[in-house]
């Protein structure tokens, strides 16, 4: 689960990681008030759009202001608008809140600090680089030697010398050396205690006053561990997710919107990806990833089918089910159930295999619905792309 920067900031505070003074605003009035207070205290503020996307600066989502006039204009330009960049898709993400922070800092160095799980080593890895401010992937590609990695034993945990080693690699001295080891330790504790999957402070900036401050923070949390962190689970912001994805998640369906025209409904994540791949291989483009899961009920199948048809970008539908636990006759009933309430106005190709496939196909073929059944995945892909072309010509 992704959380906003302002929420990440609250968590940094909980772990004693220094960051500039700031407050979150969710209304124009509220924002003006906060900007006034911070401007009178610091003389300069940053207005930061709170959206689940990186690259906000270049997309105009971060505005610098030194006067109330500038601040008010900035607030109007952000709050209630949508931020659009290559990470958000063409519809963008709504800016419902802005974080307003002290913008008076003068920084002489930017550091990158992040933690994630190294899947191959099966342990956390702390990564740091003296080249902060840019994406770590970029640094890794161009100057891999600038990144220091510290692997942490999964059970023994972080030892203080490892934090010192990171500070030393960054050539920090004296007070900053000490501060850095404390920040590394705090961030590691945050990562482990909150079941994070990724934390990133970029940049961690060294001010001319000699202090280290987290100027931006990204924290991703393990969805599967949220049951033991009810406070963190409450940080989910569904306004940042696609409405169809939110709807799907209510029914335990894994749905991800993509930009093609062929909607697909599949059981199992691997088969769902393979179905998307075969659509592409035969010249089409998938409109979504949709995994109805291993034990989908008739109701869930019906719901999944409605979600597919609710997407206006979907011009043809491919259903690919390999029945193991899921019985194909149930899938067929689910589809036919959904078609009682929604109109099937696009080509539909159904491929059923495995448990009770023959019964399922029989149900579909005798239903009187305008649909095609397919022998196998390849046949299904050819037929749905054929149907799409027929529709367009």
């Amino acid at each position: 689960m992704k959380i906003h920067e302002y929420q990440a900031k609250q968590l940094l505070n909980r772990y004693g990681i220094p960051n500039p003074a700031g407050e979150i605003a969710d209304s124009h009035r509220n924002a003006v008030q906060i900007a006034e207070n911070l401007l009178s205290a610091y003389g300069k503020v940053l207005l930061k759009a709170q959206v689940h996307a990186g690259g906000r600066g270049k997309a105009g989502g971060i505005i610098f202001a030194t006067t109330m006039d500038e601040a008010e204009r900035g607030i109007s330009r952000l709050l209630g608008k949508r931020l659009v960049n290559n990470q958000t898709g063409p519809e963008g993400k709504p800016i419902n809140r802005i974080l307003i922070v002290d913008g008076s800092g003068d920084y002489i160095q930017e550091i990158y600090l992040g933690i994630l799980i190294d899947r191959q080593m099966e342990c956390p890895v702390i990564m740091a680089s003296a080249e902060g401010g840019m994406e770590i992937e970029h640094v890794a590609a161009v100057h891999p030697e600038l990144i220091v990695r510290e692997y942490i034993h999964p059970v023994a945990g972080l030892y203080p010398f490892q934090a010192r080693r990171i500070a030393s690699h960054l050539n920090l001295k004296g007070l900053q050396f000490q501060e850095m080891t404390e920040i590394v330790t705090g961030l590691y504790r945050l990562f482990m205690e909150l079941d994070a999957t990724q934390v990133e402070i970029n940049p961690l900036a060294l001010s001319s006053r000699g202090r280290l401050e987290a100027l931006d923070a990204k924290i991703n949390l393990d969805d599967w561990a949220l049951y033991r962190h009810p406070d963190l689970a409450g940080m989910r912001d569904i306004t940042q997710e696609s409405p169809l994805e939110v709807q799907a998640s209510k029914f335990g369906l894994n749905y991800i919107k993509l930009d093609g025209q062929i909607g697909c409904m599949v059981n199992g994540a691997g088969l769902a990806m393979a179905t998307m791949d075969i659509i592409k291989l035969f010249g089409g483009a998938p409109a979504n990833f949709l995994d109805v899961g291993g034990g989908a009920s008739e109701e869930n199948i019906a719901e999944a089918f409605k979600i597919l048809l609710a997407d206006a970008d979907v011009k043809a539908v491919l259903v690919n089910i390999f029945g193991g636990i899921v019985r194909c006759d149930r899938v067929a009933r689910g589809i036919l159930g959904a078609l009682q309430t929604v109109v099937l106005d696009r080509p539909l190709v159904v491929r059923l295999a495995g448990t009770n496939a023959a019964e399922g196909i029989q149900l579909l073929e005798t239903s009187g619905m305008r649909l095609l059944t397919a022998q196998d995945m390849e046949d299904a892909a050819r037929k749905v792309i054929g149907g799409l072309k027929g529709e367009q010509s």
Binding site: Q87, I117, R119, Q120, E122, C123, P124, I136, E137, A140, A141, P154, V155, M192, D195, T197, Q198, D222, D223, W224, A225, Y227, R228, N254, I256, L258, V266, N267, G268, A269, G270, L271, A272, M273, A274, T275, M276, D277, I278, I279, K280, L281, A285, P286, F289, D291, G294, G295, F322, G323, G324, I325, A353, G354, T355, D376, M377, E378, A381
Partner: protein, 289 residues
């Protein structure tokens, strides 16, 4: 012969009285798997489906001689159940449970290594040696005894591939679903090694997907250690970066783990990679003739 399981397997079921466990236990018994005990804390002393239930795995193993376990407990208890199984002395643990927090898995890996206990999964369909033994939730009916080893991170995509193989007369020595989690108990490399050493296995199908570096590691291992033919498919060529595609481990992150990279690495190591998932079986057949 087959790998990991066979007629000598005596199975324990953890979380044995639950609905899902009951359903699949029935299917496993019908397939011929010898289930000797169940574990559900608080229900020790009961008999469920004719199988004795114990409060602890330790007691279940001591009294019934179980040597393998399958786990169906709710995810909050997943890590605990795996540790309990490992501690009970069984040498194979198959965890079906999906949704165990990644940090829990990470912490128990060193313990499993210390105890020489092999974990398959979590979040997996289990494994099957057709005609002999099934520890898992896959449909037994699509499998045929034979000489092809199948390894996969997926469930239903594996069924698809197995059905393709069976339909053209290529039976399977053992089929293993290693699961879709970021930190699996058993990796492609582990399975490849076992299949290479298994005299009955003549060829291997490896079904990978986006995320992590397991396929890249497998490619290196195959180049250095595997003499049997290997055919591979990598799911997720159309998956967008940064999104988790159903499986917790299926995510392209930080520019790494894409299908393109994995396919290039596998091909670079001389492995046949199929692009059309409908032709995995037929491609393997053509390699074997």
């Amino acid at each position: 012969m087959s790998i990991l399981i066979g007629q000598e397997t005596r199975l324990m079921i953890q979380g044995s009285t639950g609905r899902e466990a009951t359903f699949h236990a029935q299917k496993m018994i019908e397939y011929g798997t010898k289930i000797v005990c169940g574990v559900t804390p608080g229900k020790g002393g009961q008999i469920h489906m004719g199988i004795p239930v114990f409060d602890t795995a330790e007691r279940a193993v001591r009294e019934t001689g179980a040597n393998a376990s399958i786990i169906f407990v709710p995810r909050q208890h997943g890590a605990d159940a795996i540790m309990e199984a490992a501690d009970s002395g069984v040498n194979l643990v198959v965890c079906i449970t999906e949704g165990i927090p990644t940090l829990d898995m990470m912490k128990l890996r060193p313990v499993l290594k210390e105890k020489s206990c092999r974990l398959i999964g979590p979040n997996c369909p289990g494994l099957i040696s057709p005609g002999k033994c099934k520890i898992g939730i896959m449909p037994g009916s699509i499998h045929r005894p034979g000489t092809i080893g199948v390894i996969s991170r997926s469930g239903t995509l594996t069924y698809e591939v197995v059905a393709q193989l069976s339909a053209i007369g290529l039976g399977q020595s053992t089929g293993i679903g290693i699961g879709g989690d970021p930190i699996p108990g058993t990796t492609f490399v582990d399975c490849l090694d076992l299949f290479q050493k298994d005299p009955e296995t003549q060829a291997i199908v490896m079904i990978g997907e986006i995320g992590g570096q397991a396929e890249e590691k497998a490619a290196e291992f195959i180049a250095g250690h595997i003499t049997k033919p290997v055919v591979s498919f990598i799911a997720g060529q159309t998956a967008p970066p940064g999104r988790r595609m159903g499986h917790a481990g299926a995510i392209i992150s930080g520019g790494s783990g894409s299908a393109t990279d994995k396919i290039a690495k596998l091909r670079g190591s001389g492995i046949t990679v199929v692009e059309n998932p409908a032709q995995i079986g037929s491609t393997l057949a053509s390699l074997l003739t």
